[in-house]
């Protein structure tokens, strides 16, 4: 290890340091209390500072040309940079959104933020990995904190159930993933993604890739590895869901990009049909199952499944266009999904989460900006202009058509029409109906700040997406 290595991995390093700092500060502040009621927001600020420092590092570190580090285990290139920034934005918003909730419901503050930061580190590691071992370790650093976060609301049996399901199924999927890594290793004799780039096709390698896909697909909530998502989303604490819904996707898709379009670009004709099939199944199931949902968290869970399907279109298309589209989509998805969850976090139904669609009724009269934000995010999630979701989908479909995958694109657009149905229910609800008597609006500066950030993201990506487009294009340009 050299300074060069540490410098290249500065964002991750800074995040880990921040996580440790948060833990220490928390232990210091809590003293011996088991469940301290925190008035101080010191941990929040500490975590935010860590995120900002890491983001600054990710911004300023050179990413072009690609900088390898840690003996070729790690690379800092355009993909890393974009994934890092998206993940850090998610972490920042996740921290901001969580603050009032975590303190209100007496979740362990220090642990919460530390887990968020560590999970983000995992996602970033996956994006930077040049070796399947790093990918595996990154995946675990990403997902293990998420299991804990899901189960963190220990007073709630639902949260416990969510944690249990997530962990057991996650471990199950991990086994497949490692098996996949093992088979790839057996087939090619190396774990280095760079060296794998020339590996000849063989059934063993294919089987390895297949099982690898299961592990990553689980995190991304692809059908049929999606079973955990609705249940975990519903049961886990709301801010944790907001964070995990994005962070897991970033890690999973960064991993998919590193493995498939990048390392195994030469085998695209063989894995692309598999990805297409998965994309179709994922889009269809996610969107259809969301149609009748009345629970917003579950609805957004199916929505996140559907979005995994859309991003898979980009993976299946591969190449610079597909990869760039996925990166763009991840950024937009982070903004719009966090925005949608953020509005839910403003509501409180007698001390529990107000997660029914009906709970949103009349919100426009009480908190017009929140209503507008939710409407905007729903519009964006539905892929309608002028929000970022539209441009993001445009790039995906362009990639698909460019790769000749017309059928995939057609199913993509048709399912996104289906999605309009339930997203519009979400957008419509705040503007109609009477305010439910038991739902209160809990305003908070931090939540507000997160919502402003998300809204700005959705609008900027939708109306002035030029710079991000250029960035993803440059990041993915080295892929053919």
């Amino acid at each position: 290890m050299s300074w060069h290595d540490l410098a290249a991995a500065a964002p991750e390093t800074l995040l880990v340091l921040a996580a440790c700092a948060v833990l220490i500060q928390d232990a210091w502040a809590a003293g011996g209390a088991l469940e301290a009621v925190r008035q101080s927001t010191a941990a929040t600020w500490l975590a935010l500072a860590g995120v900002c420092a890491a983001a600054a590092a990710a911004l300023w570190l050179p990413s072009s040309p690609a900088t390898p580090a840690f003996a070729g285990m790690y690379v800092r290139d355009g993909i890393t940079r974009l994934a890092d920034l998206t993940a850090l934005g998610t972490a920042g918003a996740g921290v901001l959104l969580a603050d009032p909730y975590v303190r209100r419901t007496r979740l362990p503050v220090g642990e919460y933020y530390a887990l968020v930061l560590l999970s983000t580190t995992g996602a970033m590691l996956m994006a930077a990995s040049r070796n399947l071992i790093v990918l595996f370790v990154g995946l675990e650093v990403l997902s293990l904190p998420l299991y804990v976060l899901a189960a963190l609301a220990r007073r709630s049996t639902r949260s416990q159930e969510a944690g249990l399901k997530y962990l057991l199924l996650g471990a199950f999927a991990t086994a497949f993933f490692v098996y996949g890594v093992a088979l790839v290793y057996g087939a090619a004799g190396t774990l280095d993604l760079g060296a794998l780039a020339g590996a000849p096709a063989s059934p063993l390698l294919g089987g390895g890739l297949a099982l690898l896909t299961i592990g990553l697909g689980f995190e991304a909530a692809m059908v049929p590895f999606h079973g955990w998502a609705p249940d975990v989303y519903e049961g886990a604490p709301l801010p944790a869901v907001a964070f995990m819904s994005v962070a897991a996707k970033i890690g999973a898709f960064a991993g998919l990009i590193r493995v498939f379009p990048e390392a195994f670009a030469h085998l695209a004709p063989t894995w692309s049909p598999m990805m297409q099939a998965l994309a179709i199944a994922t889009m269809v199931l996610g969107n259809l199952a969301a149609l009748g949902q009345t629970n917003v968290k579950r609805l957004l869970a199916y929505s996140s499944i559907a979005h995994a399907g859309y991003m898979l279109i980009g993976v299946a298309a591969g190449g610079a266009a597909g990869t760039g589209a996925v990166l763009f989509y991840l950024a937009v998805y982070a903004a719009m999904n966090l925005g949608a969850f953020g509005v839910l976090l403003l509501l409180d139904r007698r001390g529990v989460e107000a997660d029914r669609v009906d709970d949103l009724a009349g919100l426009a009269a009480r908190a017009p900006w929140a209503a507008w934000t939710l409407a905007l995010c729903a519009v964006s999630l539905a892929g309608l202009p002028p929000a970022g979701g539209f441009i993001a989908k445009l790039y995906l479909f362009r990639a698909a058509l460019g790769a000749g995958q017309t059928g995939l694109a057609v199913i993509g657009v048709l399912t996104s029409v289906v999605s309009v149905f339930y997203y519009m229910r979400l957008a419509y609800a705040p503007f109609a109906g009477d305010v439910p008597s038991d739902v209160a609006v809990r305003r908070s500066a931090m939540t507000g700040a997160a919502l402003v950030l998300a809204t700005a993201g959705v609008l900027v990506y939708g109306i002035l997406p030029g710079s991000l487009t250029a960035a993803v294009q440059q990041a993915a340009a080295f892929l053919k």
Partner: protein, 101 residues
């Protein structure tokens, strides 16, 4: 290496399947967890076999990380299971069906 690699690999595959079957059929969260451990061990055997086959130590390194991950997962998982047990007095995963639909 007088035993053909395929033997080890086949044993591994069978053990993996056994583990997967355990996840599917058992209702006790603890045993489901053990089944997952069984699967991870099966994978480890494959890794070690390939490492030997390739004469490269990378496979064994990965086994090390799998061990670490397994340990961490067990710690977290058992904590959750204990938590669940405390509130429900059972570790039957079929009782964990509040969340569905």
């Amino acid at each position: 290496m007088s035993v053909p690699a395929a033997y080890y690999l086949s044993l591994s595959a069978l053990l993996f399947t056994l583990g997967a079957a355990g996840v599917l059929v058992r209702r006790s969260a603890l045993i489901v967890f053990m089944s997952v451990e069984l699967m991870l061990n099966a994978v480890n055997l494959t890794l070690v076999t390939f490492a030997r086959l390739r004469g490269a130590v990378d496979g064994q390194v990965l086994v090390f990380f799998v061990l670490v991950v397994a340990a961490a997962e067990v710690v977290v998982g058992l904590a959750i299971i204990v938590d669940v047990f405390r509130s429900r007095e059972t570790v039957d995963i079929d009782d964990a069906d509040l969340l569905r639909g």
